[in-house]
Symmetry: C2
Subunit: 114 residues, 2 copies
C-alpha cells in the first residue's frame, strides 16, 4: 500500500476533484478575487460604486500617487472590473458590470456575521 492509497477517502477525493475540471477557470476566478483582495483596489471599486471618477480624484481619495492609481487601473481594466471613457485630457473610470456589486454585497454579508 503506497502513500496515496493509505487512507480510505478515495471516493471523497474523486468527488472533490470534479469541482475543478477546468483549471483555466479556476485560475481566472482566483485572479478576480485577488484583484479585490487588496485594500487599495477594493477602495477604488467601492468608490466607483458611487461615482464615476478620474485618476486624480481616485488618487485624492486614497492618498497615493497618480502613478500608483494608474498602475492599479490597468490591472482592474485587464480583469474587466472597470471601463474607461476619455474626455479631453481626462480619463473617467466606472465599473464594468453589475456582478461586481453583487460580489461586494455577498462578501460584506460574510464579513458582517458574528
Amino acid at each position: 500500500m503506497n502513500k496515496s492509497e493509505r487512507h480510505s477517502h478515495q471516493q471523497a477525493i474523486r468527488t472533490a476533484r470534479k469541482a475543478m475540471t477546468d483549471p483555466e477557470t479556476v485560475v481566472s476566478l482566483a485572479e478576480t478575487f485577488k484583484v479585490l483582495g487588496d485594500p487599495t483596489r477594493l477602495k477604488i471599486v467601492l468608490a466607483l460604486l458611487r461615482a464615476e471618477l478620474c485618476v486624480l480624484d481616485i488618487a485624492a481619495i486614497l492618498g497615493i500617487s497618480e502613478s500608483g492609481v494608474s498602475h492599479q487601473m490597468r490591472l482592474l481594466k485587464t480583469l474587466r472590473l472597470v471601463k474607461h471613457r476619455k474626455d479631453g485630457k481626462m480619463v473617467f473610470y466606472s465599473l464594468d458590470d453589475e456582478h461586481i456589486e453583487d460580489l461586494i454585497r455577498v462578501g460584506e454579508r460574510h464579513v458582517g456575521e458574528r
Copy 2:
C-alpha cells in the same frame, strides 16, 4: 488654488468617500477576497464545496505537502471560511457558511462572461 482643489470633482469625491466610512470593514472584506485569490486556497474551497476532507486528502488533490495544506487551513480557519471536526488522529474540514458558495457562484458568472 492648491493641488487638491485644482479640478472640479469635489462633489464626486465627497460621494465616493462615503462608500468607505468604516475602514475596518474594508480591510476585512479585502482579506476575505484575498484568501480566495490564491489558486491553491480557491481549489481547497472548491473541493470542500463537494466533500468533507482531511488534510491528507487535500494534499493528494492539490499535489502539495501536508505542511503546506496545514498552513493554508489555518488561514482559512482564521477568516472563518472553513471549520474543522476532529475524529481520532484525523481532522476533517468543511465550509463554514453558505455565503462562500454564493461568492464563488457570482465570481464564476463574472469570469464566464464574454
